[in-house]
């Protein structure tokens, strides 16, 4: 057992963590932005856009992978355009890992952010406006702190989901050791090759990492906790 751990290439761990963090940051801001945008739409548009934004959560990740490949493949116009004009390649690269994970995890951030924003008492915002505060200050200093518990739990779930992403990632980014092989891809390919002990080590690692990260974020986001009394 110790031999296996000693000879293990640890790169999937670092790639998973980097991917999880990068995808969470992207989904965090996109999710908040999307939540704000959807809230301002009229009712019918709201339902349509909301359903679209939630699709990655309910569809098999391979469907997202399919569409992402359709978009970024070097044989498709947009992929070619990126390659020729910006020398950017998404397929079979770490950027692919991040994009796949961000797309899959995005609905969790979006939905949590929206639920949190919708809980904010409109009178708080009206009061802030009569106090002549700018919309920017209202958003960052008043709305975000009130919505913080919801936003934080959205971020935790987003990270957890991004960390474990497999389906879309394997299609878009593939399985290149040291480049795009994340822990979940390592588990799949080691198991497929019959290396249950190596796969088992990765299983233990991902459980520990996931639990540790979620625990940590929970602790940080509840420290100096929100003084508003919550339902117990």
């Amino acid at each position: 057992m110790s031999e296996i751990v000693q000879n293990l290439d640890w790169s999937p761990l670092w790639i998973s963590l980097k991917t999880g963090i990068a995808a969470t940051i992207i989904a965090f801001f996109l999710g908040i932005f999307a939540a704000r945008w959807v809230m301002k739409l009229n009712n019918r548009m709201k339902w349509i856009v909301d359903s679209l934004f939630t699709l990655p959560l309910v569809l098999p990740p391979t469907v997202a992978g399919f569409f992402l490949l359709l978009l970024f493949s070097l044989r498709r116009p947009f992929g070619q355009f990126l390659m020729i004009h910006f020398n950017i390649r998404i397929v079979q690269t770490w950027a692919g890992c991040v994009i796949a994970a961000a797309v899959i995890a995005f609905p969790l951030m979006y939905r949590n952010a929206r639920a949190a924003f919708e809980q904010v008492d409109m009178n708080m915002i009206y009061a802030a406006r009569t106090l002549q505060l700018s919309e920017w200050i209202i958003f960052w200093k008043i709305v975000m702190p009130i919505a913080r518990p919801g936003i934080a739990s959205g971020a935790v779930l987003t990270f957890a989901r991004a960390l474990g992403e497999y389906g879309a990632t394997s299609m878009l980014a593939g399985n290149i050791l040291g480049k795009t092989r994340t822990i979940s891809i390592a588990i799949a390919s080691e198991t497929a090759a019959g290396n249950f002990d190596v796969a088992g080590v990765w299983v233990v690692v991902i459980i520990l990492v996931s639990f540790g990260m979620v625990f940590l974020i929970n602790m940080v986001s509840h420290r100096g906790s929100n003084p508003v009394e919550r339902w117990k």
Partner: protein, 350 residues
């Protein structure tokens, strides 16, 4: 110093149409729940937009549907005290006040301290709104609202979240605090006592429509309109038929009443306040009714009776409120056989 409001706004199943003017001092908007009082304030603050009309404060046009002017809430800068005070829950009292002061954080401290003293909030600076009592929250919200010196402040049911003794004390405190304020005050309430205490003039809203505007004392004395009488707390109102210039038949009470004032062509109702009725132990003739009791409740200092015309079982019940002390002092604690409707207290209503 003046605020002119003349607005219309349509909602599904509801139409708001109100027009009034304040020239300094405090104006009240009195109306039942859901009559459009708060909506009027929201239109003035720029939180809601009317369909048409005009809102002007001290020569500054906030809204004018013809000239297509509609200033943002921030540009209007009027003070608004919300029913639940709307202190920001994630900020301490100090931070709540500081955020309303423009400028750098360091420069704010002096002002914050001064305001905290003025509103007697010393020692509560570091508390969160959830750790403050209702009265403290209210003073905090007032302080926050007044630091940027608005030309108009609006109070939306300021005491509805408070009760009993505390309410009386806080009303007195708020009256004192508002005396130092020189701009216009607009206060909304469903409570006639509050409006009477605070306001010089008032406008009455019923079902979204302004029905009467004028001096508070005059309206309470002579409401002129049936809805106005009801809103100012008149419990006994009857439809009438005019018999002569000074005589009418109160249909709901089945009683002929003589009036002191001349009955106009538009008069359709007569009203009499419950505590203005006079008990009588014999038939005194004019405006006296033989009665039977038909209900009773009491409050600590009053007896509230319901009675009806003894001659007519189908007549409506009439309220009579008697001061306990006075009533027993006369040695006549029993229910009287007759009730007199004093001429001088009959209100002729349209």
């Amino acid at each position: 110093m003046a605020l002119q409001v003349d607005i219309k706004k349509k909602f599904p199943g509801f139409y708001l149409e109100t027009a009034f003017e304040i020239n300094g001092g405090c104006m009240g908007i009195l109306g039942a729940s859901g009559c459009g009082k708060s909506m009027t304030l929201k239109c003035i603050a720029g939180i809601e937009t009317p369909d048409e009309g005009r809102i002007v404060l001290n020569g500054r046009t906030f809204y004018d549907s013809q000239k297509k002017i509609n200033l943002r809430t921030q540009e209007r800068g009027v003070g608004y005290l919300f029913q639940n005070y709307a202190l920001f829950p994630t900020m301490t009292l100090e931070e709540n006040i500081a955020i309303a002061i423009p400028g750098k954080n360091k420069e704010k401290q002096g002002t914050v301290q001064a305001v905290i003293r003025q509103f007697r909030l010393e020692g509560l600076e570091k508390r969160y709104p959830s750790e403050l009592s209702g009265g403290q929250q209210q003073r905090g919200a007032l302080a926050r609202m007044l630091v940027h010196k608005p030309e108009l402040i609006m109070l939306d049911e300021p005491f509805s979240a408070l009760d009993g003794f505390l309410k009386d004390v806080l009303q007195l405190e708020m009256l004192e605090l508002l005396q130092q304020y020189e701009g216009n005050v607009l206060m909304v309430s469903h409570n006639r006592d509050e409006i009477f205490k605070f306001c010089d003039s008032m406008t009455l809203l019923s079902d979204g429509r302004g029905i009467l505007t004028g001096s508070v004392r005059e309206i309470f004395e002579m409401p002129k309109k049936m809805e106005a009488a009801r809103l100012t707390g008149c419990k006994n109102i009857s439809a009438i038929t005019k018999i002569g210039e000074y005589q009418l038949l109160a249909l709901d009470w089945n009683m002929i009443l003589n009036t002191r004032e001349k009955i106009g062509d538009h008069t359709a109702f007569v009203g009499v306040r419950a505590h203005r009725l006079m008990p009588a132990w014999e038939n005194t003739g004019e405006n006296t009714m033989k009665i039977v009791q038909d209900g009773y409740t009491e409050t600590p200092f009053e007896r509230q009776y319901l009675f009806r015309n003894a001659k007519d079982e189908n007549s409506s019940r009439i309220w009579w409120i008697a001061d306990k002390e006075k009533f027993t002092a006369n040695g006549e604690g029993e229910f009287p056989p007759y009730m007199k409707f004093p001429k001088e207290h009959l209100m002729l209503l349209e």
